[in-house]
Every structure is written in structure tokens, then in C-alpha cells.
């Protein structure tokens, strides 16, 4: 329990750091971003909206930085992330709310599958060290060195086209309304196969390698020799003795590298024009839509923190030692 409390405290601290960072980033923007927005949307922005944007960007010179910071927190706690420039005048929270399920569905599920599958394969490769499986390791290295987005480009070039089963972009067929029905769900699944496969291929090999190395390290421990000497079946020694212990560093590694993985997978959305957070971030960057960029960064960070907390719970369940102390 203590372990979990410590971790939660740390994640709260990290969330605070991220939010504070998010507060300062727009204040580094040179010039007056609101002015450039106004000149781009000549006459289409009301005076009220301009004033609220100035508050958001800290251009309101009547307040000192501390008051601005408190105001920012107040806005945030009300779920107010400002108005998006791209989809003006839609609030950022609405834009994010629309695209978050897509990202959670695609990136979340594929990341977990890739971890489980990679770990399972790594157990096999580590246990059978020195067999033909070792020959496959350089190939996995090569696959993991390919940028996700480039693999996505190749996948589009090879598998899509006129008459192909796979669509090349989007999250569902144009004309369908997002709903849980017999038309929308199959279409959404069909659109997610290629992006998911792209993420799987390039992210899995990292897990295979780290799990293999842990298995190799663990399988020369004395307790493994003892387990063999007791005459336990090979399967039991491999899974219950070696893999269970080798898994622990892999789970904590999973938690730590989530930030990197999520960053990479967001790019797959860009290539496939998949309507998730990554694609929104791409559009926001194109339009210099700072409120949307900040909002997306905040949501991604908080999701990663929650995922980290879940990974810690998993660690707690896997390692009895953390429960005792």
C-alpha cells in the first residue's frame, strides 16, 4: 500500500510539473499569437473571445504572473482548455473529447498487445538461447529502427489502392455516424487494421529483446538450477520460475517507456489521417493552434501517468516483495 501511495504522490507531482510547463510554454511564444489569429480571421472574432484568448496567453498585462497562474488553474479545474483556433470557436475540450476514444482504442490496445506478444516471444527466445531463434534477433533490430510513420507510408503504398480491402485513411467510412451499430463498428475495425499492424510490427521487437535478455540473465540463477534439479517439467521452470522473475524489470520498463511509445504511435495516426489525438496535434501544429496543442499535450501526459499507475498496480500484483514492506 505504501508503495502505491508513494507512486501516486509522484504522479501527482509529475502532473503538476507538466501543467506548470504547459502554463509557461505559450508565454514563450514570440510576438502576439492572438493578433495573428485576428488578422487571419478578419472580423470574424468577437471582442469577448479576443479578451479570453489574451488571458489564456498571458497577454493580459494587468495581472502579474502569479495571478495568471492561479487563473490558469481555475480555468483548468473547470475543464476549460480555451478555444481551438483550427475549429474556431469550438472549445478545445470538445475537440479532444471527440478524438480521445480513437487514440485510446488504437494506441492503447495495440501497445498492450505488443507488450504481451513481445514478452511472450521474448520468453521463448531467451529460454532457447543459442537455437535458430537467435538468428532472428538482427531482423527485429532492423524492424524496431524503422520510424513508425515510414512503415505506415509503405503499408499504405503496398496494401491500399483502388479495389483494395484496406482503406488508406480515416477512422471510418465517410457518411457513417459514429455509433455502436452494425455499420459503424465493422467499418472502424477495418480502418484500424493497417495502423494497428504498423504499430505492432515496429514496437514489438523492443519487448522481445529486453525480455530475451532478462530471461538469459535469470536462467543462470541458482534457483533455476534447483528447480531443474527437483525434476520439475521444463515448461514449469520456464514459465513459473524464470519468466515470472524476468517479467518484473520488463513491466517497470514498460511503464517508463510508455511516454516514448505513445509519442511514436501518434505519428502513425498522422500518416493514416486517423481521427485521433496525434492527427489533431498535427493539424494544430499546421494552424499554429496553441490552445489545442497544449490541451493535447496535457491529455497525453495525464493518460501516460494513469497508464503508469496501472503498470505499478500490475507490478504490485506480480511481485510479492513490494506488498510485504
Amino acid at each position: 500500500m505504501r508503495f502505491l501511495l508513494q507512486r501516486t504522490a509522484f504522479y501527482l507531482f509529475t502532473a503538476w510539473a507538466a501543467i506548470t510547463l504547459n502554463f509557461f510554454i505559450p508565454r514563450l511564444v514570440p510576438g502576439d499569437p492572438v493578433q495573428s489569429l485576428i488578422s487571419r480571421n478578419q472580423g470574424r472574432i468577437s471582442a469577448d473571445a479576443i479578451e479570453s484568448l489574451r488571458v489564456l496567453f498571458g497577454l493580459d498585462s494587468n495581472e502579474n504572473i502569479w495571478e495568471q497562474y492561479l487563473d490558469y488553474w481555475g480555468q483548468l479545474l473547470h475543464g476549460d482548455l480555451g478555444l481551438s483556433f483550427t475549429f474556431f470557436p469550438t472549445p478545445v475540450s470538445t475537440v479532444i473529447g471527440d478524438s480521445l476514444p480513437w487514440t485510446v482504442g488504437l494506441v492503447g490496445i495495440t501497445t498492450i498487445i505488443s507488450f504481451l506478444l513481445g514478452t511472450a516471444l521474448g520468453v521463448g527466445a531467451g529460454w532457447r538461447r543459442g537455437s535458430w531463434v537467435d538468428g532472428l534477433l538482427p531482423a527485429t533490430t532492423f524492424l524496431s529502427s524503422i520510424p513508425y510513420f515510414w512503415l505506415g507510408l509503405v503499408a499504405i503504398a503496398v496494401f491500399t489502392g483502388p479495389g483494395s480491402f484496406f482503406p488508406s485513411s480515416g477512422g471510418y467510412e465517410a457518411g457513417l455516424v459514429p455509433a455502436f451499430d452494425g455499420y459503424f463498428i465493422p467499418s472502424a475495425i477495418k480502418h484500424s487494421v493497417l495502423p494497428a499492424a504498423t504499430i505492432l510490427v515496429s514496437s514489438m521487437s523492443g519487448w522481445i529483446l529486453s525480455m530475451r535478455n532478462m530471461m538469459v540473465t535469470v536462467s543462470s540463477e541458482d534457483y533455476i538450477t534447483v528447480a531443474h534439479a527437483k525434476g520439475l517439467s521444463e515448461r514449469r521452470v520456464a514459465l513459473s520460475y524464470a519468466a515470472r522473475n524476468a517479467l518484473l524489470p520488463n513491466v517497470s520498463g514498460f511503464a517508463l517507456s510508455l511516454g516514448f511509445i505513445v509519442g511514436g504511435t501518434l505519428l502513425v495516426e498522422i500518416v493514416f489521417s486517423y481521427p485521433g489525438l496525434g492527427y489533431q496535434l498535427f493539424q494544430a501544429v499546421g494552424y499554429k493552434d496553441y490552445p489545442l496543442m497544449q490541451g493535447i499535450f496535457l491529455i497525453i501526459t495525464i493518460s501516460v501517468l494513469v497508464a503508469n499507475l496501472l503498470a505499478d498496480v500490475a507490478y504490485l500484483l506480480l511481485d510479492p516483495r513490494t506488498r510485504k514492506s
Binding site: Y11, T14, A17, L21, V29, P30, R129, G130, D134, P138, T141, F142, S144, S145, P147, F149, W150, L151, L153, V154, I156, A157, S168, S203, S205, G206, N213, M214, V216, T217, S219, S220, E221, I224, T225, H228, E234, G253, L256, S257, L258, G259, F260, I261, V262, G263, G264, T265, L267, I270, V271, L281, V285, G286, M293, F297, I300, T301, V304, L305
Partner: protein
């Protein structure tokens, strides 16, 4: 795009398998190049060397000006244009050669910066301990958990047309945390070793202990962290260029992909436009990863995929060698029943 978790960190705690003063003084000379003898590391170093060479001479040996337009619009690879041409008739082979410099410079610069930061923060935290350690560890953990790439994208997009140096600075300042964490863990275990205690007892200054007693034993970890950061930096830079945030007026492989994507190279079937750049990136990433494996295996010999494990015994059976086991190879005249799972039928 991910930094594959190095096994080094996992080997550290209390194992003592690494960082032990290895070479006897008299044999130091012979052992100096042992690292290169590792096939993986050697392959990686050779490929990396070729990339470095092209980074230096690329712009001079490029057959065309990468910006020059010509009448050969969207041509497939041919003898005149090895990697084909773009929609403006620019030579893609030249663009790749010229772009190598930017990629390598950003990768190495960011790698050096992040490595210096990780040494400063990680070793200080590990050696000094106490409150500074708590603070520095929390700082590096925060940087580790916050998704780096979105942060880099946002910070870079604030700057109009970010230059290579600036991109390298931003990447370097955000990607030191992993190295710092690993270095701190290893410094913690080195700090209480006898030879460090001895140095402290003889009254050596703290900076001297850190520089001459601790740091040399961290070389492998520092090297591996550096290589990992370079991979991440190269990927990030190419990503930034691909989504069009950093300056698109200078050439790197991300810029090529940016134009290919923007001009619908896929829809027009112009595979030569994006395949060479992607392969160049993947090959560079592979070379760096191979060097890292070499370092890992050099430090922790168990990880080597050591040659033949199936051995034929004198009486014609095969035995599979396994880590931690010493199979008894019985003479043919007196066969010893081996455990079932070790004998192939």
C-alpha cells in the same frame, strides 16, 4: 521510435558482473580492441563510419544540386538519377547525400548534450545522496514520464523555422533522463566499493574520486546511453521535419519524406521518393542499435548468443547446452540416463 530498454540497467543491482576492473595492467594493450572484435559492434561501427563519411563529403560528391529543378519530372530510378526525381525534377540521391549531414550533426550534438547532462545529474545524485539525490531523481523521473515527442513538437513549433542547432538543443535538453537514471543506479552501487572507500580514506578530493575512480567504470553505460540518445535524436529530428515543423529549407531525410507526403507520392506510385530515405534512417538506427548490443554483450557476457549449443556426444546423442548447466557427456561404454528434456530423440 522507442528507445529499447537497455539490459544494462537490469544487470546492475548487486550483480557485480560489470564494471569490475577487468584488464591486468600488462595485458591492457591487447584487450583494448576487444570491443571491436564483437561482430555486432564491428558491423555497427562500420556502417556508422560510412554515414559519418557521407555527412562530411555528402554535399561535395552529390551529383546534382538538391534544390535544382530539371525537366525530368517524377522519374523512376535510372542511370542518370539513381534514386529517381521529385515532382520538380530534383535528384533524390543528391537530396539524401546532402541531408546526411544535418541528420548526423543533430544526432551527435543532441547525444553529446544529453550525455553530459545525464552524467552531471545522474552521477551527482548517485554519489552525493541525501536530499540532492531525492530532488535530482524526482526531476529525472518527471522528464522520463512526460511524453518527450509531443513536448518537443510543441516547443519547436513555437519557434519559426527552427534551425538544426536549435532542434538539437531542444532534443538534448529533453532526452537526458533515461541516462541519468541508469547512471545514478550504477554510481550508487560503485560508491560503496572498497577501492572508492580506499580513495576516500586516503583523502582524495570528491571531484577526483568522481572523475578518476567512478567515471572510468561507468564508460560502458555512458557509451550505451549516448548511442541510445543519438537514435532517439535522429528519429525525433526526422519526425519534426516530416510533419513540417523544423526548417524545410534545409535538407534532411525527414524533409524528403515531408515533400513526398505533401505531393501525394503514394497516390502517384512514386515509391522511389520515400523508400530510400526510410531505408537510410532504418539502417542508421540498426547500426546504432547493433553498437549498443555490442556494448551490452561486452559488459554482460551472458547475453552473447554463444555459438553452438547442440553438441553431439561420443555415442551419437545430442545434448543441448543451457546457461547454468554443465551437461555430463558420458563415455559411450557407460551411458548415463540424462534427464528426458535434454535429450533429442
Amino acid at each position: 521510435m522507442t528507445i529499447s530498454p537497455s539490459s544494462i540497467e537490469q544487470v546492475i543491482p548487486g550483480q557485480g558482473a560489470m564494471a569490475q576492473p577487468s584488464a591486468a595492467p600488462g595485458r591492457a594493450k591487447r584487450r583494448r580492441f576487444r570491443f571491436v572484435a564483437n561482430a555486432k559492434a564491428a558491423t555497427g561501427l562500420v556502417i556508422l563510419g560510412v554515414y559519418c563519411l557521407f555527412a562530411v563529403i555528402g554535399p561535395w560528391v552529390a551529383p546534382y544540386d538538391p534544390d535544382a529543378r530539371s525537366a525530368d519530372v517524377l522519374q523512376a530510378p535510372s542511370a542518370r538519377h539513381w534514386f529517381g526525381t521529385t515532382h520538380l525534377g530534383q535528384d533524390i540521391f543528391s537530396q539524401i547525400l546532402v541531408g546526411a549531414r544535418s541528420v548526423m550533426v543533430v544526432g551527435l550534438l543532441a547525444g553529446v548534450l544529453a550525455t553530459i547532462l545525464s552524467i552531471l545529474i545522474g552521477v551527482t545524485a548517485g554519489y552525493i545522496g541525501g536530499v540532492p539525490d531525492e530532488g535530482l531523481s524526482a526531476l529525472s523521473n518527471v522528464f522520463l514520464v512526460i511524453p518527450a515527442l509531443p513536448l518537443i513538437i510543441i516547443v519547436t513549433s513555437i519557434v519559426e523555422q527552427a534551425s538544426d542547432t536549435l532542434v538539437a538543443l531542444i532534443i538534448g535538453l529533453t532526452s537526458w533522463a533515461w541516462g541519468a537514471r541508469v547512471l545514478r543506479a550504477q554510481t550508487l552501487s560503485l560508491r560503496r566499493r572498497d577501492y572508492v572507500e580506499a580513495a576516500r580514506a586516503t583523502g582524495e578530493r570528491t571531484w577526483r574520486i568522481i572523475l578518476f575512480e567512478i567515471l572510468p567504470n561507468l564508460t560502458a553505460i555512458i557509451a550505451s546511453g549516448f548511442v541510445g540518445t543519438v537514435i532517439f535524436a535522429v528519429m525525433s529530428e526526422i519526425t519534426l521535419a516530416f510533419i513540417g515543423i523544423s526548417s524545410i529549407s534545409s535538407w534532411n531525410w525527414g524533409t524528403i519524406l515531408f515533400w513526398a507526403q505533401g505531393q501525394q507520392a503514394l497516390a502517384q506510385g512514386a515509391w522511389w521518393w520515400f523508400v530510400p530515405a526510410g531505408l537510410a534512417i532504418a539502417l542508421l538506427g540498426t547500426a546504432l542499435a547493433l553498437i549498443n548490443f555490442g556494448i551490452d554483450e561486452f559488459v554482460s557476457p551472458r547475453l552473447r548468443s554463444a555459438g553452438k549449443t547442440r553438441i553431439r556426444t561420443a555415442d551419437g546423442r545430442t545434448v543441448r547446452m543451457r546457461v547454468g548447466f554443465t551437461p555430463v557427456l558420458a563415455p559411450a561404454s557407460r551411458p548415463v540416463p540424462a534427464p528426458r528434456e535434454e535429450v533429442a530423440p
